[in-house]
């Protein structure tokens, strides 16, 4: 019986020691994994939330977009608001047709807000179009207003008119929605009559004056507005 007691004690010590050793070793191993970063390395990579990236965001489109953003003050590094026609020619470095074609994929995403001759005043349809498009943001990062003027009148006058039209659209968004950081979301481009005039084909786009005659002159008295679903 004495031997039984001794055997019991030895067995007990062995069982306890074995289980304790196992527990200790497991915890130390996990501590080591934690310390050496093995746990982190094993974690699957998780995507980081970002803006939408549509299929039309081609390298060329993004190049122009990036240049506009940097040159027109959207990246916060410049207080200047918008780009002048001269800037556009320099920053885009492409001809009229290629420039316009860049925006073709936005045909269904955006709309052409039309103005009266020699006027920058928005009509009700134009305002509604801007509001509807603004609210349809989804995952887009930038909202572009690309204003134009027709060839009627002098170059300086049209350049100024184009600028005013861009501002009309921009100010309407500001007045209507009163959102902070609007400056960092909206990019303005105003083109005079010397660059990237639209052909009459653009009358088939989503225009604000659907029931009125659309001519090659009329389609250029406009501001094309659209969210752009590209990451930069």
């Amino acid at each position: 019986m004495k031997y039984a007691g001794i055997m019991g004690i030895i067995a007990g010590c062995a069982f306890l020691g074995g289980s304790a050793f196992k527990v200790h070793a497991e915890v130390r191993a996990s501590a080591e994994r934690l310390k050496t970063g093995v746990v982190l390395a094993e974690k699957p990579a998780v995507a980081i939330a970002n803006h939408a990236e549509a299929s039309y965001c081609t390298p060329k489109f993004k190049e122009v977009l990036a240049r506009v953003i940097h040159a027109c003050g959207l990246d916060g590094g410049d207080s200047r608001r918008g780009c002048q026609p001269a800037d556009v020619k320099t920053l885009a470095s492409i001809n009229d047709d290629d420039f316009n074609n860049l925006f073709t994929p936005l045909k269904d995403r955006g709309g052409v807000v039309m103005f009266d001759d020699a006027s920058e005043k928005l009509d009700d349809d134009g305002k509604r179009m801007i509001e509807d498009l603004w609210l349809d943001r989804k995952g887009a990062r930038y909202f572009f207003i690309l204003a134009r003027a027709s060839k009627t009148g002098g170059a300086d006058f049209n350049r100024s008119l184009s600028h005013k039209r861009a501002n009309s659209a921009f100010f309407h968004i500001g007045d209507k929605f009163k959102e902070p950081d609007l400056d960092k979301q909206v990019g303005l481009l105003w083109l005079g009559n010397e660059f990237a005039q639209l052909g009459q084909d653009y009358c088939k786009w989503n225009v604000s004056r659907k029931n009125k005659p659309c001519t090659a002159e009329a389609i250029n008295r406009s501001a094309f507005v659209s969210w752009v679903d590209c990451q930069l």
Partner: protein, 362 residues
């Protein structure tokens, strides 16, 4: 599987000290004691057999308690737990057997240490074996030994634990807190003091489980909560190319529309999550989800379709983009410190105590 009952001192040590460790030590003792009884055979002291028989019930009592908690509180059973329950039942059966066998051997006649006093059994002709009673002072020694066995693995476990304090606040910060952001939902129960921002998907099972954990830990009502909906559903979430939780955008809109009762709709969605997901994945798809919403929250119907609701949900997700958060749910920020995913389960109590000591005060 998460159980607040699975470990002790969860506030003090990350993950707490698993209760099963005490079982490991106790079973080691019982195994050794059983070996002692087997080697002793019929000459095992009566006090030893009685002691073994009586204390062998203790694991069964503990198992019965944990089984009841699992069945009633948790509604599920872990594999290790079931193993321990089975071992406890077997041990108790063995203990009863030892008790019965010990009683069957009749009263002690003489001390086994005095062979000259042994009587001769009439029927067999063999000397009757005298069963020793055993010294009484062995009983407290065995009890102390059982205690030492039970706590030793737990003590070693605690001694080997790394210092988790260095890791729990290392999972990111909320760059743009949304306390004053009108787009986000704000839920502040009476007496809530701890600012927190919670990103959830109403149809995400992990979010549902995490919500329950916060309730079990009794901290949910102490959070001055900014609630951000992050549906992992490509219908409204441009970051995904396929829906992980179809119908989630629709339910998120309903939560937004509920405004002050947002938490009620969220909890309803959690309670009916399986049905909602099943409905969304069926042929009729979102129509099923819409019908369930209409049945329970008919007054939200018009608001769900409103353009303003869609815009608000868009803005909510832009808030997530602005904060450069991982596309995953749930995510909880205590103040501006992100709760690590690894700390949202068994390490939750410890992490809450460290990151927000106010939450752990009664």
């Amino acid at each position: 599987m998460y159980s607040p009952y699975a470990a002790l001192f969860r506030d003090k040590y990350w993950g707490g000290v698993p209760i099963s460790l005490f079982a490991v030590g106790a079973f080691a003792f019982f195994a050794a004691f059983a070996l002692y009884l087997v080697v002793c055979g019929p000459l095992a002291p009566r006090r030893a057999t009685k002691f073994f028989g009586v204390v062998s019930f203790s694991p069964l009592l503990a198992s019965a308690l944990m089984f009841t908690i699992s069945a009633i509180e948790l509604g599920q059973f872990c594999k290790t737990c079931v193993g321990i329950y089975a071992a406890s039942v077997l041990l108790t059966i063995g203990g009863i057997g030892v008790l019965v066998e010990g009683n069957r051997k009749g009263p002690v006649v003489l001390s086994a240490d005095k062979p000259e006093d042994r009587d001769v059994h009439v029927a067999t002709g063999k000397p009757e074996v005298a069963i020793p009673q055993g010294a009484l002072w062995f009983v407290p020694i065995w009890l102390v030994a059982l205690g030492i066995f039970a706590i030793t693995p737990a003590l070693l476990y605690v001694s080997a634990l790394p210092n988790y304090s260095n890791y729990i606040s290392d999972c990111g910060k909320l760059q743009k807190p949304g306390v004053d952001n009108p787009v986000l939902l704000h839920v502040k129960p009476a007496g809530a003091t701890q600012p927190a921002t919670l990103f959830v998907d109403p149809l995400c099972p992990t979010c549902k489980a995490f919500h329950k954990r916060l309730e079990v830990e009794k901290v949910f009502d102490k959070l001055d909560m900014t609630l951000v909906l992050f549906p992992l559903d490509s219908e409204c979430n441009w970051m995904l190319d396929k829906p992980f939780h179809p119908g989630s955008c629709l339910v998120s809109k309903a939560i937004l529309c509920a405004d002050r009762r947002a938490m009620d709709v969220l909890e309803w969605a959690y309670d009916n999550q399986d049905k909602l997901l099943e409905g969304a994945k069926a042929a009729a798809g979102l129509v099923n989800v819409r019908a369930m919403l209409r049945e329970k929250w008919s007054h939200l119907d018009a608001c769900i379709d409103a353009k303003e609701t869609k815009v608000r949900l868009d803005k909510m997700m832009h808030y997530i983009v602005d904060n450069k958060l991982p596309v995953s749910t749930p995510q909880l920020f205590l103040g501006d410190t992100r709760l690590c995913d690894e700390d949202s389960d068994i390490g939750l109590a410890f992490t809450l105590r460290k990151l927000a000591p106010n939450l752990r005060q009664p």
